[in-house]
């Protein structure tokens, strides 16, 4: 164990792989020293595991109805009680983790690269390219996220895929802004001038030299945004434009529980807890990542 550690922390690595692994090791150690970040990481990891192993963790079918057992309070049989159709809420929350994780992952995969590329191109070329691209970005940015997503879902039709697309469309402008700001600070540095003088194409400069420096702030921002994405998705589900019944989406579940929140509080509360905990987890993790990755905090790694 000690030898692996020494190898990773070697001051004079002997290969590209060792240098890279050493850097990741130092980063993960810095992250492990931050308790809130670890709480966040554990919550996110739990979310992923629950989503992966949902069939083994759930005690009932998430959509199986049992009208004889409607609106039962939490008990040994139904850990979080049952809803108005007699479905087990625990199992629905567990399967809901899959939907939440899918929404978050797909939005990140769709929106982050688009924002990154548009921002980096605008910042690198400047001039008219910048003005046009940032004009488009500003148009999207000028509308509140949820309203914009609502408009798109209304146009595309309700459903989980359309909700994901709508949220992605509403999210990328923020990333483009960040990527552009980062690019502007890097653009005029001498190491970029040096590769340009070597005859590198714009594509090579952007992809190999500028994007790697934008990614850490992007990772931080995406992680912090995850909470917002989950809330937007839940909001869409709540007003019936996101996931459609009988899909166990947390926002939709809260919406169904609203009618009997005073007498059968658990129907709305349980998925609500899930949303709050997972959102908090992403926030903590994002904060921790910022402390570790942000270049403005010095080159401690």
């Amino acid at each position: 164990m000690a030898t692996t550690r020494d190898w990773l922390l070697d001051d004079s690595p002997s290969s590209r792989l060792q240098a890279r692994l050493g850097r990741s090791y130092r980063l993960s150690r810095a992250l492990a020293r931050n308790p809130l970040a670890m709480v966040g990481a554990i919550i996110v990891l739990t979310l992923i595991l629950v989503a992966l192993f949902a069939p083994w963790i759930a005690t009932h079918s998430p959509i199986g109805q049992d009208l004889a057992n409607r609106l039962k309070p939490p008990s040994a049989e139904n850990w979080m009680g049952t809803d108005e159709l007699g479905r087990d809420i625990w199992s629905r929350v567990v399967y809901g983790a899959r939907i939440t994780l899918m929404i978050v992952a797909l939005v990140a995969v769709l929106a982050a690269p688009v924002g990154l590329v548009i921002g980096a191109v605008a910042g690198y070329f400047g001039g008219w390219t910048d003005r046009i691209l940032m004009g488009i970005t500003d148009i999207f940015l000028s509308m509140p996220k949820l309203i914009l997503a609502l408009a798109f879902v209304a146009a595309l039709g309700p459903g989980i895929q359309n909700a994901i697309i709508a949220i992605a469309i509403a999210t990328w402008p923020g990333y483009a802004r960040i990527a552009r700001a980062e690019t502007l600070t890097i653009r005029n540095s001498e190491f970029v001038a040096a590769v340009e003088l070597q005859g590198a194409s714009s594509l090579r400069v952007i992809v190999n030299h500028i994007l790697p420096l934008c990614t850490s702030s992007m990772i931080i921002r995406v992680t912090l945004d995850m909470a917002g994405i989950i809330l937007t998705a839940a909001g869409l589900g709540f007003i019936g434009l996101g996931a459609q019944p009988p899909l166990p989406e947390w926002g939709a579940m809260i919406s169904r529980g609203r009618s009997f929140i005073l007498d059968q509080w658990w129907v709305a509360t349980m998925p609500g807890f899930a949303i709050v905990i997972v959102s908090l987890g992403f926030c903590f993790l994002g904060d921790g990542l910022r402390d570790v990755l942000d270049p403005k905090h010095g080159d401690r790694q």
């Binding site: 240098a19 190491f191 040096a194 590769v195 003088l197 070597q198 005859g199 590198a200 194409s201 080159d299």
Partner: protein
């Protein structure tokens, strides 16, 4: 044939003209210095030659070929630049190896492993630095990496923008000796910008004194050493340098 011939060069940033009718000649294998106070336009001349300052009129001829404004891949193999600040000129997330391999990848030169090894040896960087990141290197080591990066394409002309002014005195001497040795070994031509006259007498053969964007005098280093510069401004510069030997 002269390595670099500059005639009537006017460079402007936007609407303001920075240099006025610059002209000088650098012979192949020669080491030529541009000296002058800050803001005299000496770095701008280097940038125009390299292609970073794009709006200029006049003529720049390198090895018999006229330069056009902008960066040119073919020219990049003949002429490279070393920057002033070794802390800003290396990519913070790239190892020495990645920084040095990049020019080879751009120009499709194979055998990058051996070339990187060779160039690191010639600038006196130990092999164990190869996979370090810039933040694990000292200022002098970083500047060696920057020089190695400029040399890896085997250029004939090196543009040096105050290559030692950001380093402390003992490291300055090391880098100057390195530059002197490299020039002898590889037959390089230097065009160096500096405001440090002792550096000029150590490393250069001739110098041009610049003031307010004009060349006021071109002289040989022997003339400088004997204190025989003609122009009143050059004489003032030498006097100032003699009374403040370290700056």
């Amino acid at each position: 044939m002269s390595a670099l011939k500059i005639e009537n060069l006017d460079i402007s940033y936007g609407d303001s003209k920075v240099t006025h009718g610059i002209g000088f000649d650098v012979a192949e294998g020669e080491s030529f210095a541009l000296v002058g106070e800050s803001g005299s336009g000496k770095t701008t001349v280097l940038k125009a030659i390299a292609g970073m300052a794009r709006s200029w009129t006049g003529s720049i001829t390198a090895f018999g070929h006229a330069r056009t404004p902008g960066i040119d891949r073919g020219f990049a193999r003949q002429c490279q630049m070393v920057f002033q600040d070794p802390y800003g000129s290396l990519h913070p997330r790239k190892t020495v190896d990645a920084t040095l391999s990049e020019p080879l990848a751009i120009h499709g030169v194979g055998d990058s492993g051996a070339r990187v090894d060779e160039v690191m040896q010639s600038v006196g960087l130990d092999r164990r630095f190869r996979f370090r990141f810039p933040h694990q290197l000292s200022g002098g080591q970083r500047q060696r990496v920057a020089i190695a990066r400029a040399l890896i394409l085997k250029p004939k002309l090196l543009l040096l923008d105050e290559p030692t002014s950001a380093l402390d005195v003992s490291v300055q001497a090391e880098i100057l000796n390195l530059l002197k040795r490299l020039r002898r070994e590889q037959g390089l031509t230097y065009l160096m910008v500096t405001h440090n006259l002792p550096v000029v007498s150590f490393l250069c053969d001739r110098l041009a004194v610049m003031r307010h964007g004009r060349v006021v005098e071109v002289a040989s280093v022997d003339q400088l050493k004997r204190g025989e510069l003609q122009d009143p401004y050059s004489r003032e510069l030498t006097r100032f340098s003699a009374s403040h030997p370290k700056t």
